[in-house]
């Protein structure tokens, strides 16, 4: 019964996220990236695409598209429920509240990966077009996309339970911290999800090409940190939902 209940909750949550108007709106962002990549491949020579691949995979995909899409979709996991006053209904179910958090997080994560898929595929195609090993490119882009999306979604789900202004706070975090402040000093990179995501993405990119703000850890270390951030944020969300007033 419990697995069946969890599947229902996950499916109901996923449908809710995918049927929102704003999800369709933000799906245009990865599609635009994919379109630009197609143009780049059509008009540039292979040697010139190295730098472009770096920019698209490291900065655009993991540094902008994934966090923005994750922000919009994951903040709604509980933020929209709060606005529609359905959050009390989500709590009024006869099951541990961490089940609810896990299902909502999983739905936001799935939706984010699905929405950013065109941009991720385009980045992988771009990598393969510069004669990188296909398996390494696809694996690197896929791992970076999935792990970065998971970490961002977990953090934004937590944010949606902590504040009514989660979207604003998350936007400030992405724009100010991830794209600006985290790059100011090496020590700050340790607090940037994007820096770990770009390190994982570097698996798909020639090693000596700079990727902007990148964690000093290796790919396995960055992977472990992203997984750790995800687990901790989901656990904190479960505690928060259990204790909060709705």
């Amino acid at each position: 019964m419990s697995t069946s209940m969890s599947t229902t909750l996950y499916g109901f949550s996923l449908r809710g996220i995918l049927l929102r108007g704003r999800t369709a709106g933000f799906a245009a962002l990865p599609l635009a990236v994919a379109a630009v990549v197609a143009v780049v491949i059509a008009i540039t020579s292979v040697p010139n695409r190295y730098g472009v691949q770096n920019t698209f995979t490291g900065n655009l995909l993991t540094g902008l598209v994934v966090p923005i899409v994750a922000l919009v979709l994951a903040i709604g996991a509980f933020g929209d429920e709060r606005d529609a006053r359905t959050l009390p209904l989500l709590r009024a179910v006869a099951r541990p509240r961490w089940h609810t958090v896990l299902a909502r997080f999983a739905a936001a994560w799935t939706a984010t990966v699905v929405v950013v898929l065109p941009a991720a595929v385009a980045c992988a195609v771009l990598g393969i077009s510069v004669n990188q090993p296909a398996g390494r490119v696809v694996g690197g882009v896929a791992l970076a996309t999935v792990l970065t999306a998971g970490a961002y979604c977990a953090v934004f789900v937590l944010l949606s339970l902590l504040t009514r202004r989660g979207l604003l706070a998350g936007l400030a975090y992405v724009v100010l911290w991830e794209t600006f402040l985290a790059g100011l000093a090496p020590a700050l990179r340790g607090l940037s999800i994007g820096a770990y995501g770009r390190r994982v993405a570097s698996y798909a990119i020639p090693g000596d090409v700079p990727l902007g703000t990148v964690s000093s850890l290796g790919v396995p270390g960055a992977t472990a940190v992203l997984v750790g951030i995800t687990v901790v944020a989901v656990a904190l969300s479960a505690v928060r939902l259990q204790r909060m007033d709705v």
Partner: protein, 312 residues
């Protein structure tokens, strides 16, 4: 053990006291929860629903702490204030979803049954986002009932319903009480509460100021300002004497060609004690002495005025 129990419960938000030392228990049947806007009705229901924790005191529903223990929701149904429906989903989808989350084995049959009971069978497969407010209220009621709960907490469940729907839902809630469920209903429409509730709790400025049968509450408040209609021979002389003795504050003839006079008495008991004696002295033959506006609404208004005078 009572199905619902509040013991010494207070709830405050920063510097605002929403409930102050409220205690009551509920047994099977419908109980009305009355109060003005901001009186603390919704806070009391939210505490019982586990949506919020008391700042002080204990809350138990079916013997469990509703905030800490999700298991309580197998036996607890809630109609919350506000929208509380998923606009993107059909009525059937969301009712089935909640049935499943509350452990109902045959969730499809349960949803179909309850949607039929609230009159939504025809609209069950339409998205709730396109529903009228009254239909959404019925979806909320179906959500609350689908797992056949022992305890129902309904916050203004009749809001947005047209008169026919209100009558139907009053009958439905009364029937739920007769089935042995413990039902707590808040409402501003006091006449409807009287029709469905065997017991009434009155909350004013966060305090429980009265509880009992609707008629009992009126009895408790008999010595309040009341308008009394007097009818009989030489009734004007009697009214003049009452005025002179300070037992009434005003006298006016009844409109519409009716023969009586209406007197405003600040203390009804004093009036009741004096009228027989003064009627004899004035040689008045009284054919009728009756209160005017003897509904719960007037009682409630008096309670509100009295408690507001005491301050929060």
């Amino acid at each position: 053990m009572s199905a619902v129990e509040l013991a010494g419960v207070s709830k405050w938000f920063t510097d605002t006291v929403a409930l102050s030392d409220v205690s009551f228990t509920l047994e099977a049947g419908v109980t009305g929860l009355l109060g003005h806007n901001g009186a603390g009705k919704s806070t009391a229901l939210q505490l019982l629903a586990g949506a919020t924790r008391p700042s002080q005191g204990t809350v138990r529903v079916l013997g469990l702490d509703p905030h800490a223990d999700p298991a309580v929701h197998r036996g607890l149904g809630i109609v919350a204030d506000g929208e509380a429906t998923w606009a993107h989903a059909t009525a059937r989808t969301q009712v089935e979803f909640l049935a499943r989350q509350r452990g109902v084995a045959d969730h499809r049959r349960a949803a179909a049954t309850v949607l039929d009971r609230v009159g939504l069978t025809q609209a069950a497969d339409r998205r709730v986002g396109g529903f009228s407010k009254g239909m959404r209220q019925r979806v909320k009621l179906a959500q609350a009932l689908v797992h056949d709960p022992q305890v129902l907490l309904l916050d203004e469940p009749l809001n947005g319903l047209d008169p026919a729907q209100r009558r139907a839902d009053v009958d439905l809630l009364a029937a739920l009480g007769r089935e042995g469920r413990t039902v707590l209903v808040s409402s501003h429409v006091l006449s409807e509460v009287e029709r469905m509730a065997q017991r009434v709790l009155v909350v004013v400025n966060g305090r429980l100021v009265a509880e009992g049968e609707p008629a009992g509450i009126r009895d408790l408040l008999v010595d309040r300002p009341r308008t009394v209609r007097l009818e009989g021979e030489r009734v004007l002389e009697l009214a003049g004497t009452l005025l002179a003795e300070g037992l009434v504050e005003s006298v006016r003839r009844e409109g519409g060609g009716r023969p009586g006079v209406l007197v405003e008495a600040p203390r009804a008991v004093a009036l009741a004690e004096a009228v027989p004696r003064l009627a004899r002295e004035c040689s008045t033959t009284l054919r009728r002495v009756e209160g005017v506006g003897e509904d719960l609404e007037s009682v409630f208004a008096h309670l509100v005025r009295a408690a507001r005078g005491a301050g929060r």
